[in-house]
């Protein structure tokens, strides 16, 4: 018995050690952003200083610089602007399509659903070259509209996939009852299915928005001027002037932009994971 207890304690200690090690390794860059953001330059750029502590008084200079001397706020605004449009387009395309494939198209609806999911696997790094010509053809180079046009290519397929699973979990009898009460199929979809699917739709909204904030390749390829950047490209490209890195401001920018996105994503994570693992978890 004593043996069992000591073994259980040892198990616990090992578990705590493992978790502590992994947490430190995985979260360290964000801790590093945090501490760098508030250090004075003399502190940051003196090699002898212990980098883990403040050797000089903490400062808000980098944050102030970021908000007043750079286009950071503008980039946040651009990202929100693109995000809103892409969310709207994604919902308009994905919600009806997912319902149709889940309910109205039978066996081959399922096949088509899998086909659409597979297009999610076609990466931006394969499409950015031809799409750069498409964007130029429409005269959209260096405008946010280029991104609004192209971003649904990766938000729509996964959203359809997520929503299909969601709509399938609604009991068919509900719609049948609504149709007995005189609604058309489409009426039942608008007045019944959409209202009870709010949480699924909200998942798609958050998912789409986080994907927009995380995208890099298209924004790098299509957008060139400083004032039209998204946060993901503006920070790494335009906060670096020549060869000078403003590490304090850079790290502050990374942290300020990352945390809200990470927080939102985290709230809905279990639903996204359910989308990735459909079929493999029973």
């Amino acid at each position: 018995m004593a043996h069992g207890i000591s073994q259980r304690i040892r198990g616990k200690v090992v578990k705590v050690l493992v978790l502590a090690t992994f947490t430190i390794l995985l979260a360290f860059p964000f801790y590093w952003m945090l501490i760098t953001s508030f250090k004075q330059n003399v502190d940051l750029y003196t090699m002898e200083n212990n980098p883990f502590v403040f050797n000089a008084k903490p400062t808000l200079d980098h944050v102030r610089f970021l908000f007043t001397q750079t286009r950071f706020v503008r980039w946040l605004g651009n990202t929100a602007f693109v995000g809103v449009f892409v969310v709207a387009i994604t919902l308009m395309l994905a919600v009806p399509a997912a319902y149709s494939l889940a309910r109205l198209s039978g066996r081959w609806g399922e096949r088509l659903g899998i086909g659409i999911f597979l297009t999610y696997l076609v990466p931006p790094t394969l499409l950015f070259i031809p799409l750069s010509r498409v964007v130029a053809y429409f005269g959209l180079q260096d405008t946010l509209w280029a991104l609004i046009l192209v971003y649904p290519t990766f938000t729509v397929p996964f959203s359809i996939w997520l929503l299909m699973g969601f709509f399938k979990s609604i009991p068919k009898e509900l719609e049948d009852a609504a149709m007995v009460d005189g609604l058309t199929r489409f009426g039942a979809f608008i007045k019944l299915v959409i209202p009870i699917s709010v949480s699924g739709i909200l998942t798609v909204v958050i998912f789409t928005f986080t994907l927009v904030t995380q995208e890099f390749v298209y924004a790098l390829t299509f957008i060139s001027s400083e004032s039209n950047q998204m946060i993901g490209t503006g920070i790494p490209i335009f906060l670096v002037r020549g060869d000078v890195y403003y590490w304090g401001a850079l790290m502050a920018a990374c942290l300020i932009a990352s945390l809200p996105i990470a927080f939102m994503y985290n709230l809905f994570l279990d639903r996204f994971i359910a989308g990735f693992t459909v079929g493999a978890v029973k």
Binding site: F22, T125, V134, I235
Partner: protein, 304 residues
């Protein structure tokens, strides 16, 4: 009632195909125009001499592929793409399994730990990668400081993490593993919670130790979910160019170039759309293989 029902059903069924098509065709049309279309355009460009700024192009046959296959940076890019993808997935799947075991039971502070562990995946990768660029800085690297403080290196003699080919490759590999580990962890965690609790418990009663229970019972039961985690991990790493672009921009001397980053360097920065398209097409065979295995996993789950 029964009559009304069956009547409704027949009306519903009669309406469905048309309404169904009307509801999914906008999405399908969009995907055809902006995913399938550009995909074939990429193939078309790969056999042409398309350049940025030049509206004319001509068919040049296999010329692009011939010159790519002869270029040393392309061979390096293929090698790196495979190294980064495969090695990081090995690290990720081992780490994620260990993490998922440790996170399986609830404990106080689990939510916070999960949030911290997930940061590399849920924060924009471009920004996480800049954090690493600062950590791996040539002069002010915290790693260098620790090594100097521990007297492993003398001041100013520590290696430049992103400045030497081998170390730069190791650094990119590190950041890719860091990025994908949270994703695999949550997927494996979902798989673990789906396993009925009594199975590992019964094994424990039968005298199987922790490791035997894990290796012989739990992990084999999780094979489909592990496949899902690995397949997505492979695809996300293989097609990524953000990590390399931000950490090293392919350098030093093209030693960390991958297929996507080389396609960008040639196709967009070098204005040679045709060469860029040809390079990116080398992603396709791997993507097809991964898609095939994904469909198999999905199909097997459906049959069971």
């Amino acid at each position: 009632m029964a009559v009304a029902r069956s009547k409704i059903k027949s009306i519903g069924a009669a309406q469905s195909p048309l309404l169904g098509a009307a509801m999914f065709s906008p999405a399908v049309l969009y995907i055809l125009l902006l995913v399938a279309g550009p995909f074939f355009l990429a193939i078309f460009y790969a056999f042409s001499d398309a350049r940025i700024g030049n509206p004319e192009m001509h068919y040049v046959g296999l010329e692009n592929f011939r010159s790519i296959l002869q270029s040393p940076s392309f061979r390096v890019a293929i090698r790196n793409s495979l190294i980064f993808t495969i090695c990081s997935q090995i690290v990720v799947i081992i780490g994620a399994n260990i993490l998922a075991i440790s996170l399986e039971n609830t404990f106080r502070g689990r939510g916070l730990i999960r949030f911290l562990i997930l940061l590399p995946w849920v924060a924009p990768i471009a920004l996480g990668a800049i954090g690493w660029k600062w950590i791996l800085d040539s002069i002010y690297s915290v790693i260098t400081w620790v090594l100097v403080a521990a007297h492993i290196y003398k001041p100013f003699s520590a290696p430049m993490w992103l400045g030497e080919p081998r170390l730069a490759i190791a650094s990119v590999l590190l950041v890719h593993s860091w990025r994908m580990m949270p994703f695999s962890t949550v997927i494996l965690l979902a798989g673990r919670t789906a396993i009925p609790k009594d199975i590992p418990e019964a094994a424990a009663v039968d005298g199987a130790g922790f490791w035997r229970t894990q290796l012989q019972i739990v992990i084999p039961m999780m094979r489909p979910i592990i496949s899902v985690a690995v397949l997505f991990g492979l695809i996300f790493t293989f097609t990524d160019m953000t990590v390399v672009y931000i950490l090293t921009a392919g350098g030093p001397f093209d030693s960390t170039q991958t297929l996507p980053s080389l396609a960008f360097a040639m196709g967009i920065q070098g204005s040679d759309l045709a060469a860029g398209a040809a390079i990116s097409l080398f992603l396709v065979p791997v993507l097809v293989i991964i898609a095939y295995f994904m469909l198999r996993v999905a199909h097997r789950a459906e049959v069971n």
